[in-house]
Symmetry: C2
Subunit: 151 residues, 2 copies
DNA sequence: CTAGTTGCAAATGCTTTGCTTCTGC
DNA sequence: GCAGAAGCAAAGCATTTGCAACTAG
């Protein structure tokens, strides 16, 4: 099964499980995240713009309600880059895999994904010392990307 | 020199360096962060509330402008717990020390500070693999605190 | 003296909500 | 058929901004 169909399937399951309905709006919003690999961190407003370009005439409030719903269902993850809007990205399809990390360039504002996790040790240290049970994490690194370092 | 005087001294220096003026507003706002050890992550509005309790009648816009200024001067750090408001906390006085980590309990919403950093290895791995020069980071762990795990 | 700062109120911009109409299941 | 969803416009909040009056250096 393609990644796209896998995610749509999962959407159907999660919706049914929680007594929500599958609607064209929900399907299309998830698809936009699947298709927009090049721009993976979309705000509700940006999703709405993409929808308009694709000639889908959904209400903005519907987009707001559904990105939030998809995030509580675990299909999207909320990310916050302190630019005044909540953004969302496709969640990992593997429940064992935590979030990747984000490298944020202070000069050109570019956001780079770093795929490896590498926090297992730190997490078990924290769990031992604090008694806190860690389920997930969010890690951002700030600095200069390789392009900006050259100039 | 006390920690408080050290920080006020640093505020004076940073302001002068950058051609800003020392005002009673700026001094008092920084002091509030120094005094509020028990509630270390204040939003602008919360700082404004504390000021009112202390009978300082400063404008809310002044508070917004100055917490942001203190943050650009390195005396405060911005933190974001996705509760819809920007929060600030006292920055470390040691420039070599990175931010501590925040453990966020998903049940009781408590925020626990974890003082050790322990990210040196991960950072150097990322720098080697991506060519990204890391200056700072922000790390949040989500899960259940020891109190909530018991119940 | 004067560039920078404050305070106030109005404006902005993201997000949420109320409510009526519509539609999956 | 009916609970849940969409659409629209209005409301809600945190935050920013314009501007006249003030003040630190």
């Amino acid at each position: 099964m393609s990644d796209k169909n896998f995610r749509l399937q999962k959407l159907r399951e999660k919706l049914a499980e929680n007594h929500y309905k599958m609607t064209p709006q929900r399907k299309e919003i998830l698809q936009i995240f699947i298709e927009n690999e090049d721009d993976p961190h979309l705000s509700a407003e940006e999703v709405y713009e993409v929808l308009k370009k694709k000639d889908f005439d959904f209400g903005l409030a519907t987009v707001y309600r559904n990105v939030e719903l998809l995030s509580t269902l675990g299909l999207l993850s909320r990310v916050n880059f302190d630019d005044g809007r909540t953004r969302y990205e496709l969640a990992s399809t593997d429940p064992k895999v935590h979030q990747h990390h984000h490298l944020i360039c202070l000069k050109c504002k570019k956001i780079i994904e770093f795929e490896e996790d590498l926090l297992e040790n730190l997490e078990s240290t924290i769990e031992k010392k604090s008694g806190f049970e860690i389920l997930n994490h969010e890690v951002k690194f700030f600095g200069y990307c390789s392009d900006c370092r050259k100039s």
